[in-house]
Symmetry: C2
Subunit: 140 residues, 2 copies
């Protein structure tokens, strides 16, 4: 796991959060994980020290909000290439931002419309020139 890339979570949309938690915890045998207040019913599920499933109860949403999250080796270079491909997507989950944990995040869509959250570890330096206010929230 040394090249810097890894799957960090898969986000799935559920119709009823309690029913979903029963399935992922009671059925699959995974464990609930601390979950921040996202403003809607949500539960993070721990897979292991490095991976989670994020359950979101958000119905009737379009476009599709389900996604997976890829920690990338070089956030600055990757986001530049995504911008060149017009793949950056701010309509669904909002602009890129630095989370309270320090992790950077930005959403992109592949050419088929699959939604991917790109992120990098909190200690990775990001070129300030990358933070175009059109696609990134201003720094806190």
């Amino acid at each position: 796991m040394s090249n810097g890339f890894r799957l960090q979570h898969v986000n799935v949309m559920v119709r009823d959060l309690a029913e979903a938690v029963e399935f992922y915890v009671g059925g699959l045998g995974l464990e609930p994980s601390p979950t921040p207040d996202l403003g809607f019913p949500a539960q993070f599920i721990r897979i292991n020290d490095e991976q989670e499933i994020h359950l979101n109860e958000l119905s009737g949403e379009a476009p599709e909000r389900a996604h997976f999250c890829l920690r990338v080796a070089d956030f600055t270079a990757t986001v530049r290439r995504m911008g060149e491909r017009d793949a950056i997507e701010t309509a669904t989950w909002g602009k890129g931002r630095r989370l309270p944990s320090g992790v950077m995040q930005l959403f992109v869509r592949d050419p088929s419309g699959n939604l991917i959250e790109l992120s990098c570890e909190a200690d990775q330096e990001v070129d300030p020139a990358l933070l175009d206010p059109a696609v990134f929230e201003s720094a806190p």
Copy 2:
């Protein structure tokens, strides 16, 4: 990563395989990985030694075939619980089976319809009583 659970791959549906490979390799900076003949256009993408993205060009499919794959800590116990919940799904990707690599696989849907491939390492013993021919292919 010691509890036996991990995300092994995310499977995404793409409209054009070459276009998708350009995005995941040329754009995100990941590497193509050896891909078995699946009978349709497909490319596995390496994330790291333990994780992949599987690109499948399969249009107009219903129900939704996109899924993620969870390696589980105890395949026998997990599949039993899935059976009790009527969560096992053979209509989309076929019955459970042992792959040539030795890995067991079976598909389930969560209560919201999200598709999950369950698998376990090749060296994990599976209770033969689990292998109900209604949901598993007969052993080779």
